[in-house]
Symmetry: C2
Subunit: 206 residues, 2 copies
């Protein structure tokens, strides 16, 4: 029996909530069925397996994020460090609007369930790689001090930014509850860290 | 019935292997008993619970590492960055000699089982804090550029070093199989990253 679109969306949203809260491994089909208000048999009928439902949701989240964050517009900023700041703010706004999405995407990136690791790498490895590609290309216009390896300098920036993102996602359990003050502080700190690194790697940077 | 010391050690080693390989959550008392070659009842008799056995093992690993790594000798190096390099090499040697220990310690630090988080924080939070204290004190003698916040500069170094440690522990599943070439490359890279940061934060550092 085919699902109505609105019904499918409601089931999707309900299942997304469960996966986001409990993670893939600790989510059972029973929990999904209960949250969606339908039978386990119906879940299996429409989505075949917990795994396929999970991947449908991940696809959906990636697609939504891709459309809204428009990574392809990053090079328009010209300056790498300005672009990092602007894009991070855009991303944070997106996280706040769609807190469940980020929990799911975060799991896929940073804590992939053991049994899905290989498949995740095959399906989404290129997404992560292409995300870095855009930044790496923009980073090429940063003039570096002599002796600094461009690849390593880029990696140092990414390590630092990912540390902030990681800390943020694990610390903040309720995205809707964080206030502007918290956010400004976070971006201020991120900028100060970028400034230290920039001093360390860039040419004539005062 | 009291256990002979050698028997207790053998049980300890067997259980450490199981916890190290599967992690706390996915280890059952059945698996522990089987590996140790004794009955589940005997495990419960001597160690009361899976949790208490786990904590005994963690205590044991921390104590061993503390004795051998002698963090209190760090200030003798004088220079912060030299000390980082020397101590990291010592630590790596230790890891290679006791690969199971590091898997367990790593889980406690970086991926504490949800149900033990609070207890781990209470029991071992101070270990991590005091570890950083030694380094933070030595870092005080690094002369900084004007405008650089000492706390933030220290944090940037720690973020970077922990990134390397993290990557190393998750990537290298068989510590005994890594060769000298791999290790020299890792330390070379770590040093190059420290040099970039040092340039960014330190006074008159050429």
């Amino acid at each position: 029996m085919p699902l109505q679109l609105y019904e499918r969306n409601a089931i999707f949203e309900a299942c997304l909530s469960v996966f986001a809260r409990h993670g893939y491994k600790d989510t059972s089909t029973g929990m999904l069925a209960e949250a969606a208000g339908i039978s386990k048999a119906l879940i299996f009928h429409h989505f075949k397996s917990k795994k396929l439902l999970y991947f449908s949701l991940v696809d959906h989240c990636f697609e939504k994020a891709r459309e809204e964050l428009r990574l392809e517009a990053v090079p328009d900023y010209g300056d790498f460090f300005e672009a990092i700041d602007a894009h991070s703010r855009k991303k944070l706004d997106y996280f706040r609007k769609h807190p469940k999405d980020i929990q799911l995407i975060y799991e896929v990136y940073y804590q992939p369930p053991e049994e899905l690791k290989e498949e995740i790498d095959k399906k989404y490895g290129h997404v992560l790689a292409s995300k870095h590609e855009v930044w790496e290309r923009l980073f090429e216009s940063v003039p570096l001090r002599e002796g600094v390896d461009r690849k390593q300098a880029f990696e140092l920036v990414i390590i630092t930014l990912e540390h902030f993102e990681n800390k943020f996602v694990t610390e903040v359990t309720d995205l809707s509850a964080i206030d502007d003050h918290y956010i400004e502080n976070m971006f201020k700190k991120m900028n100060e860290f970028c400034t230290m690194i920039r001093h360390g790697i860039a040419q004539n940077h005062a």
